[in-house]
Amino acid sequence: MDFKLPNLGDGVEKAIVSTIFVGVGDAVKLDQPIMELETDKAVAPIPATVEGKITAILVKEGDTVATGNHVVTIETNGGAPQEPVAQNTAPPQAAPIQPSVQTPVPVATQAQPVQPATTITPMVANSAQGFSSPTGAEPPCAPSIRKLAYDLGLNLSLIQGSGRGGRILRSDIRQYIQYLQQLSVTPQQPQPVETTASTPAPKKSESIDFSKWGPVQEENVSMMRQKIAEKMTESWTQVPHVTQFGEADITDLMDLRKKYNPIYEKQSAKITVTVFAIKAIVAALKAFPVFNSSYDTEKQVIVYKDYYHCGIAVDTEYGLVVPVIRDVDKKSVLELSQELQQVAEKARDRKLSIDDMRGGTFTISNLGGLNAGPFTPIVNTPEVGIIGMGRGEYKPVINPKTKKGKIRLFLPLCLSYDHRVIDGADGARFINTFIQALQEFPESELEGVE
């Protein structure tokens, strides 16, 4: 027979299939739960109305279903499906679904025996922040309930009170705890959008009273700092990082800079190590396209980008920002020098728009100007690589044949990459290509400016 959803209860028109307990071929008994539905009011099991064998399942978990929908087909023990046509028009035989846990009425404050098999309604307050009072009062409940919740570490504002005026009763606490326990035992299906807001907020780390050990000052965290913290945490926790160190001999490059800077200055441009690095990174990215990609875990694809937009980490008094210079492969050293100056100024004046900071494919972070040594940069997700640069250092280089020494200027480089998509050997090859591109920077790239 075609098993159709019975009446879901007063005022409930649709529900989400949260769990399907049976598979095709399974035998089911009368009243055995076939699936579990979640409405905005309750989670309720749907029992089989006949005994038999499941021959087809027409819905999957996460689907939205309504009263009367054909969800599974059950072949009754008699063999052939029974009166399929008649069943189509006949009203559903099953009784309306009762929410598995009754919404408590004010008088029912005594302990209610809990059926271990029942699914517990998440009686959580239905807004993301939970309970909030216009005057800032705590959620209403008896002092004993408040004490209990405090002792258990429950946030009362996340619990929906069923008493008059939303007062939280002991039974509400019990249901909430059972709900939490259930959450911890059964891994949750991806929540539909309507209900994600009702999941309890993640546990915040406890604040420590640092003033115990000496004087302290507190500063409110700016939105920008919060954003940086969020972004860095996301990258650090989701991306397995490897940092590959290297050194580029930039003595010749600096000579080129010295030679051409006076000419460029006439165009109000200044050639910096960063500009050379942008140029050199394009060469490396072209040689190893995976460094110019993103990993889409949802679709399980690596997205290779045929454009080269370079993010530049800029230190401002408000915090770190990463404006993006677009199509760096198509721009001359002069254009890049000018644009680099512009974005840095924009960043410091807080004039960058969101779009100015989006769409990067690779990031450069140069701390050399701050006289810093090598470091381990964090990948600017969804990009997969970032190159860090430290302060150039003069080092002696001995020619093994002549045994004669030379003093050369070396730029410390640190390449962090996403090890999910890039292997260590490719990391080594990439940095070597980058070093080579810097060391053998063609003078022709600088020519042509008057």
Binding site: G136, P139, R164, G166, R167
Partner: protein, 479 residues
């Protein structure tokens, strides 16, 4: 020979915070030592709540006898035997203090009389009359309270300038009596002395008496005081005091005038100061705030984890029942529970004539915080019970969150307001709605009905107070 005593928990101070903590800890099966340098019971029992309430009761009888002439019952002018009154009061104190001693004994709480000093993070030295004793403890609860503060300029060492402690001893009924400070102590004692026959003059620096209470609740107290005091001067300060023979010469000034007046006695009731000195707190790392109160977190823990502070010494409102509540919290935290007094509703009572009591949010606070609240008032002239008691000067008011009808605060002025506030405190603590109050049957004829009727006023259908049905009247769900 040094005496060393080992204990699990040492409680320093045996006031309503300290003895409550010691007893509760003992009830939880812990080994407790209670250290007190004075009589058991603290300021509350010996020099505060209890003696003042005994005197207030006695003088209320005087006032009631006088008022009885209004309904045709005439008494002779009462004769006050001060010695007998004092003895009666002292006997109450003695009984209660002995009661605490007995309760300690039954619970096996060891009481050590002496002054305590922290020699180390886990060592308390106690100077007893039998020499020094050293207590090695695991946890300490500091409940040493506060004392009346006398500004240095008034501290002339003259016995005619009193604090509440001396005033409660009622050595005599001074003819001309100045009360400096219109807080609850000044008002309560001023009214006592006025009823006993003193000419009481009140001087208050602020623009009103009883700071913290809503002005409509203060009003009946102020008008009563204005009637029975010789003078009530607000926005007025005492600039100087000097001994002048058997009197005190007081320079009093307000914005316009400056006068010099002579008084037989002066009561300084301008505030209290924490007893945090000479305890060795600093050396063991227990930090104080700018006012000298011990800094505590939500669990009554000081800056030294295993040392707790409760009651007046921990700051906040200086009330005995706050100390007792914090005692419970400190002991529970020591016993490994997660407890706090943070969310509890704290009632306040002033035993003036008439009494003032409130709990939760006050109207004044709501206004200061710019909160949108509705206030429902029921004046006692509409209460049958108030009229039969000849105590129609009173008001019950509810502070309500209009969006939810939730009760946020209650204020009462009138006869026995202090008793009436208990129901209101429970109601606020339960987070109930005005509807709940209106639905609860209150016995007739009682003053408690005014709470129910205030809730009905909120919905515009109080039996005894007609409110024209306006458009802003809210219909309760049950209507």
């Amino acid at each position: 020979m040094l005496t060393r005593i080992k204990t699990d928990i040492v409680v320093l101070g045996a006031g309503p915070g300290g003895y409550a903590a010691a007893f509760y800890a003992a009830d939880m099966g812990r080994d407790v030592l209670l250290v007190e340098m004075d009589n058991l019971g603290g300021v509350c029992l010996n020099r505060g709540c209890i003696p003042s309430k005994a005197l207030i009761h006695a003088t209320n009888v005087i006032d009631d006898a006088k008022d009885a002439s209004q309904f045709g019952v005439q008494f002779e002018k009462p004769k006050v035997d001060l010695d007998k009154l004092r003895k009666w009061k002292d006997k109450i104190i003695k009984n209660l203090s002995a009661g605490i001693g007995g309760l300690a004994k039954k619970r096996d709480v060891q009481v050590l009389k002496g002054r305590g000093y922290f020699e180390g993070e886990k060592i308390l030295r106690v100077e007893t009359d039998k020499g020094q004793k050293f207590i090695d403890f695991e946890y300490a609860i500091i409940a040493v309270g506060s004392s009346p503060a006398i500004p240095a300029a008034f501290d002339l060492g003259n016995k005619r300038i009193m604090t509440s402690t001396e005033a409660l001893d009622i050595e005599e009924i001074p003819k001309k009596f100045l009360v400096v400070g219109g807080g609850y102590i000044g008002m309560e004692l001023g009214l006592v002395y006025a009823s006993l026959g003193s000419q009481v003059h009140l001087v208050e620096a602020a623009k009103s008496i009883l700071a913290g209470a809503d002005s409509d609740l203060v009003k009946p107290v102020l008008s009563h005081a204005e009637k029975i005091f010789k003078s009530v001067r607000l926005n007025t300060k005492v600039a100087k005091m000097a001994t002048k023979g058997k009197q005190i010469e007081v320079s009093i000034e307000d914005a316009n005038n400056k006068t010099v007046e002579l008084y037989d006695k002066v009561l300084i009731a301008t505030g209290r100061t924490p007893n945090s000195n000479n305890l060795g707190l600093k050396d063991i790392g227990v930090q104080l705030n700018d006012q000298g109160y011990i800094k505590v977190n939500d669990h009554q823990q000081t800056t030294v984890d295993h040392i707790y502070a409760i009651g007046d010494i921990a700051g906040g409102i200086l009330l005995a029942h706050k100390a007792s509540k914090e005692a419970k919290v400190a002991v529970e935290v020591i016993c490994g529970k997660n407890a706090t007094a943070k969310f509890s509703t704290l009632p306040a009572v002033v035993f003036t004539h008439p009494e003032v009591a409130w709990c939760g949010l006050t109207e004044q606070e709501a206004r200061e915080k710019n909160l949108n609240v509705k206030v429902a008032k029921f004046p006692w002239v509409a209460s049958g019970r108030a009229l039969t008691l000849n105590k129609q000067s009173g008001l019950t008011k509810l502070i309500i969150e209009p969006e939810t009808d939730r009760l946020l605060g209650v204020g009462i002025v009138g006869h026995h307001a202090g008793e009436l506030i208990a129901e209101a405190t429970l109601a606020v603590d339960l987070g109930i709605t005005a509807e709940d109050l209106a639905l609860t049957i209150h016995p007739h004829p009682t003053l408690s009905e005014t709470i129910m009727e205030s809730a009905e006023v909120f919905y515009g259908h109080s039996s005894h107070m007609y409110s024209p049905s306006g458009s802003d009247k809210k219909q309760p769900e049950y209507a």
